[in-house]
């Protein structure tokens, strides 16, 4: 028998699911508010959605300590950007910044799965989806986190926009109205909560449109 010793485990997995949908003149970002580790729930009221700029929100699941570190880094970089350029960073610029920030730690990654949502230069809704090391893509809708596999086929089916699976890639904002998109988000989270133990408690929905940013909450199953 070889000698065993205690080892430092730098990662945990706190679960959670994030969804973002882009419309012609709005954006919906949603995430559940449960934070878990293993079979335990750490808290039922933890926001996974972070405001990076006036027209740019990020929702992140995975390891929440890394998420907080990432949010802090992006916040600091955005503050420097504001001082140098005297304006808010655009969403496509923030998207590239997030990608570079993630890839900078390619060999000791932030264990985070992000979706970024906001408006592009033309004022259309846009969603960017990422892996943990910064590979990213502009899409019309996306889901990330523990419930993503349950939610993604439903979004493909219900959003009626060209699926990101279609090639060549098409401009994929959903033709749904803002309120219809919010209803779809509520439905897919209710479904994911039925089968995913890491998703539940409460749903936080952030809506970006011409009027600004609006927050809504919906109850989810707590078991």
């Amino acid at each position: 028998m070889t000698k065993q010793q205690a080892r430092f485990e730098p990662y945990d997995f706190n679960g959670g699911t994030c969804v973002a949908i882009a419309g012609a003149d709005y954006c919906v970002v949603a995430a559940d508010t449960r934070m878990s580790t293993g079979y335990n729930i750490l808290t039922r009221d933890y926001s996974k959605i972070y405001k990076l700029a006036d027209k740019c929100m990020m929702a992140s699941s995975g390891f929440q300590a890394d998420v907080r570190a990432l949010q802090k880094v992006l916040g600091a970089k955005h503050l420097i950007y504001q001082h140098q350029h005297n304006k808010q960073m655009s969403c496509p610029a923030m998207a590239r910044l997030l990608s570079n920030t993630l890839y900078y730690k390619r060999f000791f990654p932030y264990y985070t799965f992000n979706v970024l949502a906001g408006f592009d230069e033309e004022g259309k809704g846009c969603v960017y989806t990422y892996d943990a090391v910064g590979s990213y893509e502009k899409v019309g809708y996306s889901a990330q986190g523990s419930g993503a596999k349950l939610i993604m086929p439903v979004l493909d089916n219900q959003l009626k926009s060209p699926s990101p699976l279609l090639l060549p890639a098409q401009d994929a904002v959903t033709p749904l109205s803002e309120s219809e998109a919010i209803d779809v988000v509520k439905d897919v989270f209710a479904s994911a909560t039925e089968r995913d133990i890491y998703t539940g408690d409460k749903l936080e929905i952030v809506i970006l449109n011409v009027d600004g940013i609006r927050r809504e909450y919906a109850e989810l199953r707590k078991d």
Partner: protein, 204 residues
Amino acid sequence: MSIFEYNGSAIVAMVGKNCFAIASDRRLGVNLQTVATDFQRIFKIHDKLFVGLSGLGSDAQTLYQRLVFRHKLYQLREERDMKPETFASLVSAILYEKRFGPYFCQPVIAGLGNDDKPFICTMDFIGAKELAKDFVVAGSASESLYGACEALFKPDMEPDELSEVVSQALLASVDRDCLSGWGGHIYIVTPDEVREKILKGRMD
């Protein structure tokens, strides 16, 4: 890589009003390489009883042969067809017989029982039964199927609506799974007829 995902599969069964539907994908692959696009995973035991076998293709066919054999012996002895509940117990027993050298299949059983009450059931590869009231799923696309069915299912659907819901759920799910797809095969079973449909789907 799991042996259950060696060939790739997607199976779903759903209950409606005095009817049920059972559907599967048609792909047979070896890991990522597609070998056949007309593979059958759903088998008829009798007019009102179907079994879908997800997992390893060769074990699915072997298991099917044993199930048909046992059902024929039952018919000869009892001079009647097996009830779905009985058949589920038979499948479970056959799987558990091989507890330490198992068939790498997760079966889905769907049938109409006495007074045409729909029955659906799934079990793990060593025969632990799970009876469900609404829908059951199996295969490498099972997680996608859970999400799709959970969102699309509603109780007491008529056969036509049930057929549409199951088809949409299956096709949406297999498009997000690399190992299953290439169209679908669906049976809608009512007390007086069996409707069979071949679904076209994405070919990647």
